[in-house]
């Protein structure tokens, strides 16, 4: 059965790494739902969070192929319940909405969103949460007019306590 998997990949920070990783998905006709790349807790090691829908058998093999890449240190896959994850969205709305409309203010409050910036013509609202929560705020703001909307990919941290450094030590001991 297909479901969303959280794939965490730790790589060296070299040119073209993201391409090396994504072509593994492309070749198997797997669509990437979201992708985020950033630094990790270890200097020089980059971390990708990739969300994609596939079967467990597929994800096992995809992770195997990713780990096979010379410059990948380690790759993991997790189901949603095995990770803590978050996304962030920014909503640009006309500033008049906030000025004139109590509902809009209530919506922002009840969603625990925050106002990042207010300019003469627009305001930027920020919300973090799961995709559904971000979408809910989007739906509620929509009647007031959303000028722009952008959402990040998911970032996820796994619940198991083993650190990447432990894995690296194990690898170098082997």
């Amino acid at each position: 059965m297909e479901k969303l998997y959280n794939i965490s990949i730790f790589t060296e920070n070299s040119v073209g790494m993201l391409n090396r990783v994504t072509i593994i998905f492309t070749r198997r006709h797997i669509n990437i739902e979201s992708i985020t790349a950033s630094e990790s807790e270890i200097e020089g090691v980059h971390r990708y969070t990739i969300i994609a829908k596939m079967t467990e058998d597929q994800v096992k093999k995809v992770v195997g192929q990713i780990e096979k890449l010379v410059e990948v240190l380690k790759a993991f896959y997790h189901k949603d319940e095995e990770v803590v994850y978050q996304e962030i969205a920014l909503y640009k709305i006309p500033v008049s909405v906030l000025m004139n409309n109590m509902d809009a203010e209530n919506i922002v409050r009840s969603h625990h969103a925050r106002i990042l910036s207010v300019e003469p013509e627009f305001a930027i609202i920020e919300k973090t949460g799961h995709a559904e929560e971000l979408k809910l705020l989007f739906d509620e703001l929509k009647p007031f007019g959303i000028l722009e909307y952008v959402k990040s990919g998911r970032i996820a941290i796994s619940k198991p306590m083993k650190t990447l450094e432990t894995y690296l030590e194990e690898m170098s001991n082997n």
């Binding site: 391409n19 072509i23 096992k60 093999k61 195997g64 780990e67 096979k68 010379v70 082997n174």
Partner: protein, 563 residues
């Protein structure tokens, strides 16, 4: 004060430091500084000028496989580099260590659609084990050292280094530092002895244990360990296409060749064994047939150096991520000495059926046109199964793998995973140069020969002693066979009008002979083998001969057809 040298010279010094003595290549604009540096290294490094870059990479592959070193090729940017791609993909899937060095436009022109600029890093990314673009002279040495390390370690494979022209011209200090290690890459996994013990227990309690071996045996030089393990355990051994020669074909426990056109017994009994031990193979679909009906009754133990192969195709009871040689030696310690005579007899009984229904008819035919199998059988006898035999792809390849009885390792050079027509001739050139003391015979079809026929020019110029046998059936025979069996004999563009191969060969300075009669065969093969220098023997064979047995697509290995 240290002196500075050009990046191009660094390339040459690195190659010498890595022990490279042979390069296959073709010059062009973006690699000219390297060729200029090569000019000063003519005494230490032999460069063979190929006639097309595809020839360079296939020759490097053949060279790597017979010399057991890393093959090296040079090509220029753009079309030079893209012409390498087929061979790189071939080397990737067949685990052949090759380092490709391509020239690239100057770094300030990257991304500008400059003359002969192509994104070879992007293009080659999915088919290389690793690749890198170098834009500064000082980065050449570490990149090359890393390239050789990656190409030859773990599961070997092709590596490409793209060097911009300004990096080749740039000045830098040179000190050779061999590559140490990469923290993200572990080519020598520590053997899990507990897993090996468990595997031994499983095998010790098995009634019908069965050992399948692949090229991993050859790549890890585990031939001796394999024979010792086999002889102590008494387990029958079958081989994949690329594993042929890992165990001598005349070994009493060798039961044959696996896969689509392999032998009857080893395919059928895959679905009868109780413990299946696979070492250094990847359970390719040409070996397994329908995987949902592949060895389902058996408990599978899989040993491979590439962790991603474990569990990729077949479900394993015990997976051992290890070097084949090391794992087999350890396994031999824990295996109980046994004989499995009755079980091996089951193979021999089925072998007799194949022998009667197929083999005898094709190796000793008495009437009609010559058959491919009788040619290969005779060649096998005349060379005592000890020649380097290179093939192209198609019917002649399957016939060669069936009827050439490889008694030695590193002698079977063929394009397995990718099935690259045109591989044969250039690979044979490399194979001969990689082990010049051995007779090297190329068996090639009339179709594949024409895909890289221009490499006769390399034979001419470099005086490479390759014995060429064209098995000419005037058809693209394997596709024609499939059209006959699965497409109602609709021979869509498989009949091929051929040139006068002998005249072409003579044009390139080769001796060439054509035969079409059975009574000419013996003498013609003798003449070929006794000839001095390169020689071409064209043998006209039966037009519409089919290769059997055959596991049809979608069938199970035990449904292998004898006709």
């Amino acid at each position: 004060m240290s002196t500075q040298i050009r990046g191009a010279e660094v390339v040459m010094k690195c190659l010498v430091a890595e022990g490279v003595s042979t390069i296959f290549g073709y010059p062009g604009g973006a690699i000219m500084p390297i060729y200029d540096a090569l000019y000063d290294f003519r005494d230490t490094v032999t460069h063979h000028l190929v006639r097309h870059e595809q020839g360079a990479i296939h020759a490097a592959q053949g060279y790597a496989r017979t010399s057991k070193t890393v093959g090296v090729c040079f090509a220029t940017s753009g079309p030079g580099a893209t012409n390498l791609i087929t061979g790189i993909a071939d080397a990737m899937i067949d685990s052949t260590p090759v380092v490709c060095i391509t020239g690239q436009v100057a770094s300030h022109l990257l991304g500008t659609d400059a003359f002969q600029e192509t994104d070879v890093i992007g293009i080659s990314m999915p088919v290389t084990k690793w690749n890198i673009q170098v834009t500064r002279a000082e980065d050449i040495q570490p990149a090359l050292a890393k390239a050789f390390y990656i190409a030859r370690s773990g599961r070997p494979g092709p590596v490409l280094i793209d060097i911009t022209k300004d990096a080749q011209f740039g000045l830098t200090e040179f000190e050779y530092k061999p590559f140490g290690e990469i923290r993200s890459y572990n080519p020598s996994p520590k053997l899990d002895v507990e897993a090996v013990k468990k595997a031994a227990e499983l095998l010790n309690s098995a009634k019908k244990p069965y050992l399948l071996v692949g090229q991993g045996i050859i790549l890890s030089s585990a031939e001796k360990a394999l024979v010792e393990f086999a002889e102590k355990s008494g387990i029958p051994v079958a081989s994949t296409l690329l594993g042929l020669g890992a165990i001598p074909a005349n070994h009493p426990q060798y039961v044959g060749y696996l896969g689509m056109h392999g032998n009857y017994a080893p395919n059928v009994l895959t679905n009868d064994c109780d413990v299946l031990l696979g070492v250094g193979l990847r359970f390719d679909d040409r070996v397994t047939g329908d995987t949902s009906r592949y060895a389902k009754q058996a408990q599978i133990i899989h040993i491979d150096i590439d962790k991603s192969e474990l569990g990729k195709i077949v479900d394993t009871k015990i997976a051992i991520h290890a070097d084949a040689n090391e794992a087999l030696q350890e396994l031999t310690k824990w295996i109980e000495p046994k004989k499995h005579d009755q079980w091996i007899q089951q193979f021999r009984d089925l072998e007799a059926i194949e022998d009667e229904q197929i083999i005898q008819n094709v190796i000793h035919p008495v009437k009609n046109e010559l058959k491919m199998a009788e040619v290969v059988h005779k060649l096998s006898e005349k060379t005592d199964g000890r020649a380097i035999v290179v093939t192209d792809v198609g019917q002649h390849q399957m016939v060669t793998s069936r009827y050439y009885k490889y008694k030695e390792s590193n002698n079977n050079i063929t394009s397995g995973g990718l099935g690259t027509m045109g591989f044969g001739l250039p690979a044979a050139i490399g194979a001969k140069l990689g082990n010049p003391d051995k007779t090297t015979v190329l068996i090639v079809g009339d179709g594949g020969f024409q895909m890289t026929i221009q490499e006769l020019g390399t034979i001419l110029q470099s005086k490479v002693d390759v014995k060429i046998i064209i098995l000419n059936n005037n058809f693209l025979g394997m596709v024609r066979q499939w059209q006959q069996l699965f497409f109602e004999k609709r021979y869509s563009f498989t009949d091929i009008v051929n040139p006068d191969f002998c005249a072409i060969a003579r044009g390139y300075g080769l001796e060439a002979v054509k035969i079409d009669e059975r009574d000419q065969l013996d003498g013609a093969l003798d003449d070929l083998l006794n000839s001095k220098g390169a020689y071409l023997l064209e043998i006209v064979v039966e037009q519409e001969e089919n290769v059997f047995p055959m596991v049809a697509t979608g069938a199970s290995v035990s449904e292998i057809r004898l006709s």
